[in-house]
Amino acid sequence: MNISEIHYPRSLQELMLLLEREMNVQIVAGGTTFGYIQTTRYLSFEPSIMYIGQIPELRSIHKTERMISFGAACTLSELEHVYPFEHGQARKLLHTIGTPAVRNIATIGGHLMYGKRFLSLWALLACFDAELEFRAFSKTSTKNIWYSADEMGMPTIESGRLLTRIRIPLQSIDHLFIQRIGGAVFPDGDGGYLVSVATIDRRTISNFKLVIAGPRAYRDYDAEQRIIAAPHPLPARIMQTVMRMYAESLRKTNFWNVELLLPLISQVLEALQRSTE
């Protein structure tokens, strides 16, 4: 039983100073990485714990005309009534995570930085082009959530950087398709989610994304680009081309069950056809 030193930084600045000084640090806000996983009576952490759940900058939610931004230590419950989770289907997806008592403590930062696999909300946030803001001692960087998956579609987490905020550009949602696939998602099952989002503007598809995330993440940019700027409803030849592109790229990954996913992607396109502006 190893006792760790516990720090309670009250600001982001204080946290950065502590992270610069301390070695072998474990950031704790909710409990995603240990709450359900460590089932022994006594918990075990790295030698130094930073409890970031009371840093105001990491708990705030801001909304502008173009974007919503929430701190990494916001709980999943706190996100229930904000974009994009105010949308019925997205909220249903959020509600699949534990019970209200779990969502009152689990944070969005812990959810996205889980590291072992992609958890339930990752595919949805990738479809919404979420940007992740990271802070290191001397600099701040922002990257699209998609870049937290490597070339093989595995999750990557760079050490020495702290996820501070998640920013999502606001967009009109004319098509949202969410489908659970496989078995369990947490803590390390083979399940995941297929999510697709589209915007239709004056009978043209102005935005389309389709992301599958579970143990790995998958997305076909070329197929998406074939759909974007196409007329709505999609002409039959574009539908066939896109289905062929998805079939080829899924086979190339050598990971996903093509026979299971192709019919689902076909359902996505059919749902897109039925969508209205």
Binding site: S4, E5, Y8, V28, L43, F45, P100, A101, N104, I105
Partner: protein
């Protein structure tokens, strides 16, 4: 290390280490008897507490996360009128609460009655998903909570 938090309306000072769970500190150092929590996975729901007015599983929380927070357990509510009303209403509805789920059910009921201005049936049923017990009929629970809220509403309006 020493930490302070507000427990059932009073400042509580405890000595904790990083390895302890909130449930252990609350039961061993603070004398809270309503919590049992045997699963340590948030599955049984017998360790429910209110943290800043919201239900959380104290078995999933490290004790150090209690610092500077407001915590309420079932003990906080037991002397309140609403508590005895809810208890008798649930008994009337035929839902004899088993000892293991009693804490969670009563805590959820009191949270809804005291903190949520006008809970919907859906919200009441959703709160029950925090308590994993088959011995209570969710509809009986929702009926009891709604009846008390209605009763209290009438009582408040009367001179």
């Amino acid at each position: 290390m020493n930490i302070e938090f507000d427990l059932n309306g009073r400042v509580q000072k405890v000595v904790i280490t990083s390895v302890e769970r909130a449930i252990d500190v609350l039961t061993r150092q603070c004398g809270i008897k309503s919590l049992s929590g045997t699963c340590l996975e948030g599955l049984c729901g017998t360790c429910l507490i209110l943290l800043e007015g919201k239900p959380v599983y104290s078995c999933l929380m490290p004790a150090f996360m209690l610092r500077d927070h407001r915590v309420e357990t079932t003990e906080y509510f037991t002397k309140m009128r609403e508590y005895s009303l809810l208890n008798s209403e649930l008994t009337k509805e035929g839902s004899a609460l088993c000892s293991s789920c009693h804490n969670g059910i009563m805590l959820m009921g009191m949270m809804l009655i005291r903190s949520v201005p006008a809970p919907t049936r859906g919200e009441i049923l959703s709160s029950l998903s925090n308590v994993h017990c088959d011995s209570i009929d969710p509809d009986d629970f929702a009926d009891a909570v709604l009846k008390i809220i209605q009763h209290l509403g009438i009582a408040r309006k009367m001179p």
